[in-house]
């Protein structure tokens, strides 16, 4: 890939990561000031378990929880791109990680259907929820495309992603699926941070029942 293009691509990824991390830290700081340590912990736990959603729509909550479990497995599997040496436990996650990657888009489509087709689901969903769901579907499908296409060298990609972790820009051949997947992840990080963290910091409050 062209050196200028690669630099722009890398800076986009760094920018999205920084926007997400800063948003998260600022949100935690703001909430800590408002609620105190114990209540902040309770709030995080409620957000992670989506207890508001459980009260709003049980089926949607079940789908969301299954989706989160699958997402955690896929996330752990993807850590191997940013670590060297890779721990044995992460290597052993390969098969379960592939199953989880296949389950992810199915659960996301179910979640989207639940949100848009049922009255109760529509009532507790905001436009931001739909945007995040659509981005996640695009990420999951591009990830599967990357898995089945298998025309992009993992060795080159690992060298590049490890370079990102070590704050170096390592040359990368032009791999369209990998670039698309990474840009979608960056877009998700930015959108999630803007909707969930920065909107709270600048005065807005999330709608009740948001996941």
């Amino acid at each position: 890939m062209d050196e200028t293009l690669l630099t722009v691509f890398s800076l986009t990824l760094y920018g999205a990561a920084a926007f997400f991390a800063l948003g998260l830290m600022a949100w935690l700081h703001r909430r800590h000031e408002e609620l105190g340590k114990v209540k902040l912990f309770t709030l995080i736990l409620r957000r992670l378990l989506s207890l508001d959603l459980l009260r709003g729509h049980v089926l949607l909550w079940l789908i969301e929880m299954a989706f989160r479990a699958a997402l955690v497995i896929v996330f752990l599997r993807y850590l191997r791109f940013f670590m060297f040496p890779v721990p044995y436990e992460l290597i052993e996650l390969k098969n379960i990680g592939i199953y989880a990657a296949h389950v992810l888009p199915v659960l996301l489509f179910l979640s989207l259907a639940c949100r848009s087709l049922t009255e109760r689901g529509a009532a507790i969903s905001s436009n931001g929820d739909y945007l995040i769901s659509l981005l996640l579907i695009a990420i999951a499908l591009s990830g599967l495309w990357f898995h089945y296409d298998a025309s992009e060298d993992q060795l080159e990609i690992k060298a590049y992603t490890l370079g990102l972790a070590y704050l170096r820009i390592v040359p990368l051949p032009f791999y369209p699926v990998f670039i698309l997947h990474s840009l979608l992840v960056a877009a998700l990080a930015a959108a999630f941070s803007a909707l969930r963290f920065w909107s709270v910091i600048f005065g807005g409050r999330p709608k009740a029942g948001q996941s």
Binding site: M25, L90, L155
Partner: protein, 121 residues
């Protein structure tokens, strides 16, 4: 304000520490003969069925999954710790541990497989 400055300095220090770490370079084979060391002296750089090499490296898991090649057949010329596990360890996929008790396991036993390819390949 002081606390914010402290956070910024901490973040900068972390970034500096990361940037000064030794970046683990990807494995490179300077001499392909080391990968297929049992096939010297007539071995060409890349044998015909591995050519082009970049394509082979990317697609070999699919070939193995689809049964186009078998692990046993690979082990005729290759020794897994030299040819497979350096990259497998780097990328974080399972190591190749050939069954040494398999009656067909004889790394490098047939030494002419690669050497039969014509020079131009």
């Amino acid at each position: 304000m002081m606390q914010k400055r402290l956070y910024i300095w901490l973040a900068l220090l972390c970034a500096l520490a990361l940037a000064s770490c030794d970046y683990p370079e990807k494995p490179v084979y300077e001499d392909w003969r080391k990968v297929t060391d049992s096939c010297t002296p007539y071995m060409v750089d890349v044998p015909i069925f591995h050519s082009p090499m970049s394509d082979w490296r990317v697609r070999h898991p699919k070939f193995l999954e689809e049964g186009v090649y078998t692990l046993k057949r690979c082990m005729i010329c290759h020794e897994s710790n030299i040819a497979c596990n350096r990259c497998h360890d780097y990328v974080g996929v399972k190591r190749i541990l050939p069954n040494v008790f398999d009656p067909g396991y004889s790394p490098g036993f047939i030494r002419t497989w690669h050497s039969v390819a014509p020079k131009e390949y």
